[in-house]
Amino acid sequence: MTLTIDGRTITVEGRPTLLEAARANGIFVPSLCDHPGLDPYAACRLCLVEVKGRKGPVPACGTAAEDGMDVVTSTPELQSLRRGILELILAEHPHACLICAEKTSCDDLKSTIRKTGEVTGCVLCPVNGRCELQRVVEALGLGLVPFPSHRRPGEVRRDDPFIDRDNSLCILCGRCVRVCQEVRGASVLTFVSRGSGTVIGTALDRRLLDSGCQFCGACIDVCPTGSIAERAVRYDRPAETESKVVCPLCGQGCGLLVKSRGGRILGASPDPEGRVNHGQACVRGRFLARATVHHPRRLLMPMIRENGSLREASWEEALETAASRLGQFRDGKVTVTGSSENSCEDLFVLYRFASETLKAREVSAPWSGTAAARLREIDRAAGQTAPLNFRMSDVGRAETILLLGEDLPLTQPLVNLEVVRALRKNAVVISAGPANGHYSPAGAVDLGIPAGKEDTFLKALTAALLEISGRSTPRAHGSEMLEKSLAGFDGLLEAARLLLKGKPLLILFGPDLLKTGGAPSRMSALSNLAFVAGGRLVALDVGANLRGGLAIASAFAARFSGAAENPGGSAGPAPRALYVAGPMPKIRPAGAELVIVQGSYMDEQAEAADILLPETTAFEAAGTTVNVEGRIQVSGAAIGPLGEARPGWSILNSLAAKLGTPGSAYGSAEEVRRDLVQAVPAFAALGPPSGPSVEMFLIEEAAGPAVFVGAGPGRPPKPEKAPAAPGGPDVYKGLDLAREHKSLKLLRGRRCPRS
């Protein structure tokens, strides 16, 4: 449609607001309460514009553009009205510096750091220079506030982890309250009291920690002033560089803007342009980047065990020692472990190293027992191919969602946001999980599954669906049988009816459902449930690069002799050497003559090593990862490698060279990536040079028709193997942040089972 703004004819797509239409065409309209991703609020009243034919000025943010509209965004009357309103807003905000004639020169002369509890002017404000109020004052050219100032009462709240709240800086734009409710589905922050006494707070004025806050930090990111601020960076000087990094701390693959200065990371905020996260993140990505990278237990030097204890060594010495000792254990006598926290480049070189250089029998890695791997196995066995790839937005668009036991805010924070979005669109969400407490978003139908009854539950639900849709055969599912199988599950029949209400139906499951016993049969029950309900299974695993690892592993599967024993497992002879580049169930299995650990942190595993090779974290080295959706993302590095740490691929590359493997000398991560695309067809999308606008996904087999998996032949051919423990959602490269980081520990300690 076409409309006129300030005399310019403008064509817009969809149904934008006047503010969006104006901004998209480079027309500046001041605004403080509007924020992309939030519903129009129209409270700050600065974006008032005139629309021909409408009585009085209308807020551009809350008015939908209509065909043929004639809009004027700036007249002397409008500007004077805006200035009048801004003067009033400033009467509630410390404004001395904002309207000071000396404000530009003052900044150069400022000598004190802003280490004050209360903020009385911009020079002391944590967001000085980034404050939206400053920008609006500048744009409207305010010189004086002719009203007495009204400071909001109350001290700066500093009793929560991560976040400081200072109501005296608040302009009540409501963004934090809205993002908390509309986007995060948390509704922790709220307006308290009324009129000029209104403040932002929590129910009963409790701490955020006691109000169900998950500390996603979204409120900080939307706050136009410094009212809600990240404590850790509040008193820091501004960052020098800001780099786009794909968050390695879970499988969502959020885009982060990591801020650093002088080779140190200061903090991170979610990238508003992030493909996965659109400006959202979780407590890990938002607050823990700095603590993860600059952890006191970081390995910064290669080490060699000498006389029973580890000593620092040069890379040359460490690599030489490692190569000469590893050389004795080729051909199946060495076990290699990999990690889902490494990049695809690292893993590709690791698999090459294991198969070509060491000729190991396999690489043991945490993806063998994942939901995605299990789903793939059952599909293979049954002869069907359902896609593993999905898009986060599919979840938000679903009409019906069955959530099976996953604690989404903890393990899949971004998927959780899509569930919240679906709920806001009145989708049916059924949350089934352990009867003694599981995650269930507000507005979801809650079903409890008694412990150990997971298989029965899935079968009963399938039976109920067959019964309702009139497809049950008398032989298999007589009503008596049905009643029997439904016994013990309250509300299951009603839930089954709801499940059939709207399509698309997505069934979200993750390792939580599969972790207890009988996984193969549970997987086939799950597959049948999806088949009968006409829904799609979405496997939600936790590791950062699990899907990437899985794709590389399956490409290399044929190159290994296989049938290796689980490292440290009971069956078969124990391997005599270990190359540890991933989590191990046992620290140092009996009979191991050589343990080489390639890792980033000094932990029990590293302490048991004979040779320690320090590896960079994902924040220090560029690399490719594949997130839970199957989305391939290339991450940048925020800072250079710390200490002597090197990227995993580089370490393995040097080691392979020392061991005399031809044709494996990579000079850069790009070279590895080129080879990866050649060798692993799933990564084909990564091959052609692509602009930032192209979305890349793993290539999958074409989906085939779904089938009912019989009870008997559905078993996977391989014997069940205990998956290597990934450690939990807060573990990065063996570093348990929930234990190591004081604030996260506090938060996780509060986590109680919810129902």
Binding site: A42, C44, R45, G84, I85, F191, R194, G195, S196, T198
Partner: protein
């Protein structure tokens, strides 16, 4: 009744059953033609017919804004099929008005019947009657009415065998003035904080739970049965060109006959005050009447010939609003009255939008300064600029109309503002900082009454001797003034230069 002034000017349509029927007995309502209109609408009228009738009658929203009811219904009817809702706005927040309460308590079935007709017109199957919880009797009586109507098949499934389904329920208000704003009221029913939102979209397009919703005031709904029963022509025969039918006002303040009055639209303001109201008590002089609730305006005695309808009142700076009419006599300070109403709107501002939240507070503070005798000449300019910012900039009706008391008093009683600021005097002798109590030695009979009643013992004097007030100790509570016998009237209030002289204070420099 035609010879009694109080009744002569009134025309009872909405209040016709008040006191005549037992509101807890549906049979009595039915006996006075109750539910006849609903039966007619359900059995023999199409939605189009009903809306045409209501439109032809010229019924406009009695909540105060005066939006044509027929047009609102039609807009809702034309929305795509799906759930639609009706809401009766019974959140009567104006402390000085009580016509909604009266109708809810005295004739609840009229509202039910109006809503049944409205439901048929727009195709709604569910409705809500939102009643402020400070009206427990209204909640109880509407509850009884709903139960009786359901029992008689006038609500619920297949009403009167016509196949039409409609259900009503009561929602008790959460207790805020702003909840009476329609979008805030809808948010309140949804369980949200009662914050208004930007319109358009209007509730008729996107209302309760995002569905098309017709929300009308109690009095509007109660008008509907009579229109359907007696026809649009009868209704539009009452009133003026643009404002049809009758309107209930609550007549309160300094007036002899207080209470609810239902008058035809267009009646002369003077007829209400001096005819129905019987004038001002104690022989005082009429000064102004504040119309439309806390954000209405003050109409001075020069405008007593003003016809009372939507347009005329708005033009004069007031509004129909809540229908409150507070009569003010010569002893009222207009600056003080403006401050009183601004304090109310400031406290009741929801706090969502900046101009209303902060602007009402700043205006109230300036007024407080003026009444305290600390006003400056530029304060008047500042008030006018602020009033414009708040009325043009605010999100909802509360803020948009909140400056009305200031604007009208500045318009009609500017000299009083100037007296406060320039002369440091309160002509009505109300503002404590600007007045001085003194005892006229020529009149004082030495009865000791004032001395006994003075809470701070500021009065000295003996029986049969002239009493004297110690100005330094006086707290200006006015107890002496009130107890001094009417036939004596020795205690007098002075203001301005005269008062200051009594206090022994120096005169204020002219340029202050």
């Amino acid at each position: 009744m035609a010879d009694i002034e109080f009744f002569k000017h009134q025309r009872l349509i909405v209040l016709r059953n008040r006191g005549r029927i037992d509101p807890e007995k549906i049979e009595e309502y039915i006996a006075y033609d109750g539910y006849e209109a609903a039966a007619k609408a359900l059995a023999s009228m199409t939605p189009g017919d009903i809306i045409a009738e209501v439109s032809a009658a010229g019924l406009r929203g009695r909540g105060g804004a005066g939006f044509p009811t027929g047009r609102k219904w039609d807009l809702c009817r034309r929305q795509p099929a799906g759930p639609k809702y009706l809401i009766c706005n019974g959140d009567e927040g104006d402390p000085g008005a009580f016509m909604d309460r009266s109708v809810l308590e005295a004739d609840p079935h009229a509202i039910l019947e109006g809503m049944i007709i409205g439901a048929k017109a727009v195709g709604a199957a569910r409705g809500f009657i939102y009643i402020r919880d400070e009206y427990p009797l209204a909640v109880a009586r509407v509850g009884i009415a709903l139960w009786q109507a359901q029992d008689m098949g006038l609500l619920g499934r297949d009403i009167l065998g016509t196949g039409f389904d409609f259900d009503l329920e009561v929602v008790r208000g959460a207790g805020a003035f702003v909840s009476g704003e329609e979008t805030a009221l809808i948010a309140s029913i949804e369980g949200q904080r009662a914050y208004p939102r930007q319109r358009p979209p209007y509730p008729a397009e996107r209302g309760l739970w995002g569905k098309p919703t017709v929300i009308n005031n109690v009095e509007t709904w109660a008008n509907v049965p009579s229109i359907i029963r007696r026809g649009a022509a009868w209704f539009s025969g009452l009133g003026t060109e643009t404002s049809k039918g009758t309107k209930i006002f609550s007549l309160v303040g300094k007036i002899n006959n207080t209470g609810l009055v239902e008058v035809p639209m267009g009646i002369r303001l003077g007829d209400i005050i001096f005819g129905i109201g019987g004038g001002i008590p104690k022989g005082r002089e009429f000064k102004a009447v504040q119309i439309g609730g806390p954000s209405g305006g003050c109409i001075p005695k020069e405008l007593l010939d003003l016809p009372v309808d939507y347009e005329s009142l708005t033009k004069a700076g007031a509004m129909v609003g809540s229908g409150g009419m507070i009569v003010l006599d010569e002893d009222t300070c207009m600056v003080d009255i403006a401050l009183y109403f601004l304090r109310f709107t400031q406290e009741e501002s929801c706090g969502k939008c900046a101009p209303c939240r902060i602007g009402t507070r700043q205006m109230a503070e300036i007024l407080a300064r003026i009444t305290a005798g600390e006003g400056r000449l530029e304060d008047i300019e500042k008030l006018e600029a602020l009033a414009l910012t708040v009325s043009r900039g605010s999100l909802c009706g509360l803020g948009q109309t909140a400056p009305n008391p200031i604007l009208t008093t500045l318009r009609y009683f500017r000299d009083e503002y100037l007296a406060h600021i320039v002369d440091r005097a309160c002509p009505a002798r109300v503002c404590k900082n600007l007045i001085t109590f003194t005892i006229d030695p020529g009149k004082c009979v030495g009865c000791l009454l004032c001395r006994k009643n003075c809470p701070v013992n500021a009065i000295t004097g003996e029986r049969k001797k002239v009493h004297v007030i110690d100005q330094a100790a006086c707290i200006k509570c006015g107890a002496c003034f009130n107890v001094c016998p009417a036939k004596v009237q020795a205690v007098v209030k002075c203001t301005g230069e005269e008062g200051r002289a009594l206090r022994g204070g120096t005169s204020v420099p002219k340029d202050a």
